[in-house]
Amino acid sequence: MTFSFFQPIFLIKVITLIVVGFYIIFTFIVFTQVKAMGKIIGLPHASSIFKTVSIINIILAISLFLFALVIL
């Protein structure tokens, strides 16, 4: 079977990667907002916990992108 860019599977893979890419951008926005809120209001431990959680979110999103890139 010859490879074609117009194969449905390939198109679905590209669309999936684009959507996950947007999700990565979104996780960076969440991280920026968490940082901004930490500056506005200083609550004990909250800022560092939320920063850690949002960094984990970014790492998971990037991992998913790489995972999708490899297995799809």
Partner: protein, 205 residues
């Protein structure tokens, strides 16, 4: 000569609540004179009298939806084989299914995180000089408003519905003079007590 009228000394009693400092629980919705909290543009000698955020019960809708969304794929996985649909029939479909399930759970995780942040960072602070309303919504919007206490003309609260009455939370409205923005704190615990404290601060201002 006997005294006809002796004015009651109320101001000391009213200000008693402003002197006792207390440690605040991380998820607390109502805290008087909390320790360890600082906000941007806080003056050196400015102490926080009240720290408020919506009642913890207001999180119930997104918590319920979050729990449902966590278990939703498991329900689907039980139902689909009964209908003769198998998402693990071939290697390529199994790969797509795996990627989409992981992506789905990441979105659920983000939904829970954002909902929690929206509750956590919707804060209403009352200091001895002013009130500060910090609003955080839709992840890309955060708004900080403040007004001096002497700009506040009227402060009132409303409690409507069975659950707010039962758990003692409601909305607080602070009307400011002129074209200044009015303040509203939604679903805060003990709204009557908060109204009384702000009213006493305005009176003593």
């Amino acid at each position: 000569m006997t005294d006809i009228f002796i004015a009651p000394v109320k101001s000391k009693q009213k200000n008693q609540h402003t002197t006792e400092k207390s440690h605040m629980h991380a998820l607390s919705s109502f805290s008087k004179n909390p320790l360890g909290i600082k906000f941007e543009a806080q003056k050196k000698d400015e102490s926080i009298v009240l720290f408020l955020r919506p009642h913890i019960l207001t999180n119930l809708p997104w918590v319920s939806l979050g729990i449902f969304l966590i278990f939703f794929p498991l329900i689907i996985m039980k139902i689909l084989p009964m209908l003769g649909i198998n998402f693990l029939s071939s290697e390529i479909i199994a790969h797509f299914t795996t990627a989409y399930v992981i992506f789905y759970y990441l979105i659920v995780f983000s939904y829970v995180l954002i909902s929690f942040l929206t509750w956590f960072y919707n804060i209403f602070i009352v200091t001895a000089d002013r009130i500060i309303d910090i609003r955080y919504s839709d992840i890309v919007i955060h708004n900080v408003s403040e007004t001096n206490l002497h700009h506040i003309e009227d402060v009132r609260y409303s409690q409507s519905g069975v659950i707010p009455t039962l758990f003692n939370y409601g909305n607080l409205y602070a009307q400011t003079a002129g074209a200044t923005e009015n303040f509203e704190a939604r679903s805060i615990p003990k709204p009557k007590e908060v109204t009384d404290i702000i009213a006493s601060l305005i009176g003593n201002d």
